[in-house]
């Protein structure tokens, strides 16, 4: 192969590759996956939670993956779906049975995508 052609083709290949990767990253950043949609709803919560505390999770959704998604989004905060600490994160589908907790007050709540997200804490 002609070495002069190589001299010009190599930088073109490198630039094309870099541009493709940049465009891909830009595209991925623009697309909202399920985790992104949930993360946007949970985004205001961390400032109301002490960093080194554990919060409980209650959901009326039977999908076991939801807990892992919430844990991933909230990390390094720890979320528990077995114990019931003073602060509980409620993620409830409007279509399902929406449970209310007595002796708890709501710190923050938002509704989106047919889902109610609330952070509640025990009354003292």
């Amino acid at each position: 192969m002609n070495l002069t052609k190589l001299k010009y083709t190599a930088p073109v290949l490198i630039i094309a590759t870099i541009l493709m990767v940049i465009l891909k990253l830009y595209q991925l950043n623009k697309i909202d996956f399920d985790i992104d949609i949930l993360a946007k709803q949970l985004a205001p919560l961390p400032k109301y939670i002490k960093p080194n505390s554990t919060i409980g999770l209650y959901t009326n959704n039977s999908d076991p993956q939801l807990f892992m998604e919430v844990q991933y989004i909230m990390a390094p905060q720890i979320v528990s779906n077995t114990s019931v600490p003073d602060t509980i994160l409620l993620i409830q589908n409007k279509a399902g049975l929406v449970k209310t907790f007595e002796h708890y007050r709501t710190i923050i709540q938002n509704q989106d995508n047919g889902r109610i997200v609330s952070l509640i804490t025990k009354d003292k």
Binding site: T9, L13, I14, T17, L23, I31, N52, Y72, P76
Partner: protein, 445 residues
């Protein structure tokens, strides 16, 4: 912004420092091979720096300052080699071999563009990137060992999570772009490393063949862009064998790097611990007369081994397969005499090999036909022993056997796949060279 700048400067200086060291101890390696090895060692070093920061509960900026001091000290002592690194090289020095490598990069990138997902596979976000998030803040990293995240296997070593967490801290955001870029770079490095290693051996045909295998192998590419640690482990196992192979021609100080990379396998995944122990025992037995070599090997492995041992001893919980909860360990005789389990593992293994690893199977068949002795070599014995150990682990697994096989066997094969392709092509190359030399000699007569 200052942290980002400091991180970029530190990573670049660290890379040049590693490059100069690798270049000094790896006589005979081509420049692309040196660069690729340096990138892999850079990843390892970053993760090894990150762990003490967590264990000693220090801030990220303290770590950056420490790395900066080390970098400056290194520059002070090796300014001449740094100048050599920065020397201008125009694209006119690009030869045909580099051109094919660039072509392969382009093809692999197209696959990445079409199929890479934002959060990778389930294992990626539920285990590896979750761990990275949990260790991203040194003051909260003990949350990694909370029972609430026990499903994510808190005992898994932290090389991949700490690389991701390092760059997350550097850019000041938990952006999914970082793990995507790490997986993209691993996707590229493996085929390039095999390609340039085989070129370094002087055989273009098999180097091109290796490149073609990885460019067309969708199974390899799918797992590589999944953001899991299997590809990183496969890269380190491959690099260990490349260093071991080159040891024969240059036995001086390369052993330091061999020990360092081999021990680092244990810092990627628990399967890496098994590989590290096996390789070290094998290396010890095959070099027991050469005390000087063994000394260098053990010096090389000290830091990664210390990090792994301290993590396993002081922080990590027991692994589910070897913990007291594994009831199979108490009924070993029953488990080991169950022929059904043997058959299930064997059938599943064959099916996985046929459906996902056809290039390796074809090469194994060719090498079996042409050069059976290759299967008695040191690397072959290590890989075979590794497979035997995995087989025994499946026999005694406390999990449902079919579930365990379907979720993990393909990943175990993936971990040794690049090294296997490299070793098989290398043994074919040796046949070709031997064949040529015989023909040549006959012709002379």
């Amino acid at each position: 912004m200052i942290t980002l700048l400091l991180t970029l400067i530190n990573v670049f200086l660290l890379f040049t420092g590693i490059y100069t060291i690798v270049k000094r101890v790896s006589a005979g390696d081509s420049k692309p091979l040196l660069l690729l090895s340096s990138v892999v060692i850079l990843f390892i070093v970053i993760s090894l720096f990150y762990f003490p920061m967590l264990a000693l509960n220090q801030s990220f900026i303290t770590l950056q300052l420490l790395i900066l001091i080390i970098n400056l000290a290194h520059i002070y002592f090796t300014k001449t080699t740094l100048y050599d690194f920065f020397k201008y090289r125009s694209f006119s020095s690009v030869n045909l071999n580099c051109f094919w490598a660039l072509g392969a990069v382009l093809f692999l990138t197209v696959y990445f563009i079409l199929f890479a997902s934002k959060y990778g596979s389930w294992d990626a976000w539920a285990i590896w990137n979750l761990h990275a998030k949990l260790i991203s803040r040194p003051e909260l990293w003990h949350n990694l060992f909370s029972n609430n995240v026990a499903y994510s296997h808190s005992d898994y070593p932290l090389m991949l999570p700490s690389i991701v967490a390092f760059f997350w801290n550097g850019v000041g955001s938990l952006s999914p772009i970082i793990p995507i870029l790490v997986s993209y770079s691993l996707l590229l490095i493996i085929p390039l490393l095999i390609y340039f290693s085989l070129l370094n051996e002087g055989d273009k045909l098999y180097a091109y063949l290796a490149l073609i295998i990885f460019v067309i192998d969708n199974n390899y590419k799918t797992i590589a862009i999944s953001q899991c640690a299997d590809t990183l482990l496969s890269l380190l196992i491959l690099l260990t064998f490349i260093q071991y192979k080159n040891l024969k021609t240059d036995a001086a100080n390369r052993v330091y790097i061999l020990g360092f990379i081999c021990a680092s396998c244990a810092w990627v995944k628990n399967e890496g611990v098994v590989f590290y122990i096996l390789f070290t025992i094998g290396f010890l037995l095959s070099n027991y007369k050469n005390i000087q070599t063994l000394k260098k090997y053990f010096i090389g492995m000290i830091i990664p081994a210390l990090v792994v041992v301290s993590f396993k001893l002081f922080f990590s919980p027991a692994n589910d397969l070897i913990s007291a909860n594994n009831k199979q360990l108490f009924s070993l005789v029953t488990v080991l005499s169950d022929t059904g389990r043997y058959l299930t593992i064997f059938k599943f293994g064959i099916n996985t090999l046929i459906s996902n690893y056809m290039p390796a199977l074809i090469l194994i068949f060719v090498v079996l036909t042409l050069n059976r002795k290759a299967f008695l070599s040191f690397p072959s014995i290590i890989i075979s022993s590794l497979l035997v150990i995995y087989f025994v682990i499946y026999l005694i697994t406390p999990h449902d056997l079919s579930w365990h096989l379907s979720t993990s066997l393909y990943r175990l094969f993936q971990q040794i796949y690049p090294a296997l392709i490299y070793l098989l092509l290398l043994s074919l190359k040796n046949i070709r060279l031997n064949g040529f030399s015989v023909a040549h000699n006959t012709g002379n007569r």
